[in-house]
Amino acid sequence: MSEAIYTAAFYVFGLAAVVGALGTVAARRLIHNALFLVLALASAAALYVLLSADFVAVVQILVYTGAIMILLLFALMLTPQQVELPATAPAGQQLAAALVAVVLFGLIVAAVLTGPWRQAVVPLNAPTSAPLGTALLTTYVFPFELVSLVLLVGLIGALLLARES
């Protein structure tokens, strides 16, 4: 990938991600929120590819834009009449939230710009699935098992709570 394309891709997908994010938090209709979120998540997946994280990108598409979005849409359907309600909070709350978000963003940017990051120059473009898989089953075998418990609890919980009683 040439530098220019890489740069262009970054800005395109980056912009898309930001627009998606903005839409997600700003759109008035619920369904638009959901669609903007899909845009943001998909753009993120593309960015993962730019970052040579192909496996993560795939998982992103599968789990996020697939599973999680479906869940969200289900939720929207299961909670009818909510779509029409005023979606945005009072101006004061919005302002306060914006303030916090902006200040936090400023802090992080300041940290990013001043941080003593030790950057490597070597680009890495090898496929990551195989080494990641190895890592997950060797070095990270314990978290790998542990996350299954997390999912199990999520599952049990979701099952029991969502069920009509």
Binding site: L107, I108, A110, A111, V112, T114, G115, P116, W117, R118, L137, T138, T139, Y140, V141, F142, P143, L146, V147, L149, V150, L152, V153, G154, I156, G157, L160, L161, S165
Partner: protein, 485 residues
């Protein structure tokens, strides 16, 4: 690299509980519909006991397993025992609640056990990924448990609030982890520390703040405590007890470990912040507790204040401070559970948890009233109960610091002491209600045997910890000293 299978051996307590959690669900499936699920309760308690025995056996071990992801050391062991005791006590006292929702009894036990596994791993994690997952495991379990009485408006509201704040908090925590990772390429607690020595950079400080926020949620420290009263009030009282004791203790365990292992070289940076947080936490908790009329809400604020006192031990930033906090949590386990598990029984006489409802409880069940009274006095830090010794030790830790450790923090202790005096006002309010006010009816309050056993054990803990305070604190200090570094 592949961790050796023998590592599993050191994970025996967690494995036992996990297995128990699965078995509970499986047995539940196997049992016919009409049958009582009560044996499952005793089975779950037995799991805790067996896991506790296993923990005891492993108490002498000091090692890192699974590539340093999990640490097996006395410090973790101490807290594991504490979680197991709390879980067992909560289980024993759950009868009155599970009565109300027979269908999901097994899941309740099972998730409680799984959540405890999360707590145990939280206390034992030596690496941020494991830490995060353990945190999530327990948070999700807690959210579910809070929502478990899903036909109650308050319970679902509590669950929603808990869930949202916990998820946001862990997101913040993760950001901190990300920054640390970015700086060092490491995710192990100790490994990070080696690479962030020297003059701290902005990302390190931001990461520290983010971790503080994340753990602050778990231990209900101001300003990350806002969820606490609502959730404690709304959640089923057994779960409230579990949240306020086990979950909080785990928060302290991991906080201590991270501060010690990861930020041990930056004490100068965080001590002042924690001192401020401690003061705010105890003061705000106490002030707001003064104004409550709902006993659970009041105890919630009180538990915030208690976290403030315990933070005094954290502020000490010494090994003794850590052990004092550990001791505090142990004493607090019995004390706070004694209170909450007594409150559990109010479904029979004060279902809306008002303090009014406790009028003349002494005349309806003197033992119950006495248990609650002793718990409250212990919370207030009156000798000879455990609560006194626990406060003593954390305050002690704050003043025992030598000159090279920053010198004694008498002012902090004085604020703590004044706060605990204030706290007696609202504790005494309940005692007054139970002893000085005429009961609305003479109908005796009867509690199930297992529940009574749990209360008795709490009282025993509160009373017995006094004379053995010395031995226990010595053990705790030994544990803190032997923390894997």
């Amino acid at each position: 690299m592949i961790p050796p299978a023998s590592d599993l051996l050191y994970l025996a307590p967690e494995l036992i509980l996990t297995l128990g959690a699965f078995l509970v669900v499986l047995i539940d499936l196997a049992l016919p519909d009409g049958r009582s699920r009560r044996p499952l309760l005793y089975f779950a308690v037995a799991c805790c006991v067996v896991a506790g025995a296993a923990t005891l056996v492993l108490l002498g071990q000091t090692r890192a397993i699974f590539n340093g992801m999990v640490l097996v050391d006395p410090f973790a062991g101490f807290f594991k025992l504490l979680f197991l005791a709390a879980t067992a006590l909560v289980l024993l006292a759950s009868e009155l609640y599970v009565e109300r929702l027979r269908r999901y009894e097994a899941e309740y036990y099972s998730v409680l056990l799984l959540g405890t596994v999360g707590l145990m791993l939280l206390a034992a994690s030596g690496e941020f990924l494991t830490l995060f997952l353990a945190l999530e495991l327990s948070s999700l379990a807690n959210a579910f448990l809070a929502c478990w009485l899903k036909h109650q408006r308050k319970a679902t509201e509590a669950a929603l609030k808990y869930f949202l704040i916990s998820v946001l908090s862990s997101a913040v925590l993760l950001y901190g982890v990300a920054l640390l990772y970015g700086l060092t390429g490491q995710t192990s607690l100790a490994g990070v520390a080696q690479l962030i020595r020297g003059e701290p950079s902005l990302p390190v400080l931001l990461a520290l703040a983010m971790l503080v926020a994340g753990f602050g949620f778990k231990i209900s420290a101001v300003p990350f405590q806002m969820w606490t009263p609502d959730v404690y009030e709304g959640a089923p009282t057994t779960v409230t007890g579990y949240l306020s004791v086990a979950s909080k203790a785990a928060g302290f365990a991991v906080l201590l470990r991270v501060l010690e292992l990861t930020f041990g070289n930056l004490t100068g940076v965080w001590v002042a912040v924690f001192a401020a947080i401690a003061v705010l936490t105890m003061t705000l908790g106490n002030l707001l507790a003064l104004a409550q009329s709902n006993i659970k809400r009041m105890l919630a604020y009180s538990s915030i204040a208690q976290a403030g006192y315990a933070l005094v031990g954290v502020v000490a930033a010494t090994t003794f401070g850590a052990s004092a906090v550990a001791f505090y949590m142990l004493a607090y386990t019995f004390t706070q559970l004694g209170a909450f598990l007594a409150v559990v029984s109010d479904v029979q006489f004060a279902p809306d948890d008002t303090i009014e409802g406790y009028s003349g409880l002494h005349f309806r069940n003197p033992w119950l009233a006495a248990t609650l009274a002793v718990s409250l006095l212990s919370l207030g830090g009156l000798p000879p109960f455990a609560g006194f010794f626990s406060k003593l030790y954390v305050f002690w830790a704050a003043v025992v610091r030598g000159p090279q450790e920053g010198g004694p923090l008498y002012w902090l202790v004085l604020i703590g002491v004044i706060n605990s005096a204030i706290s007696l006002y609202y504790y005494a309010k309940i005692i007054r209600q139970m002893y000085l006010v005429a009961p609305p009816t003479d109908k005796p309050v009867v509690i199930p045997g297992a529940h009574g056993l749990a209360l008795a054990l709490c009282v025993l803990g509160m009373v017995a910890l006094g004379p053995f305070a010395g031995a226990v604190i010595a053990g705790a200090e030994q544990a803190a000293r032997l923390m894997v570094r």
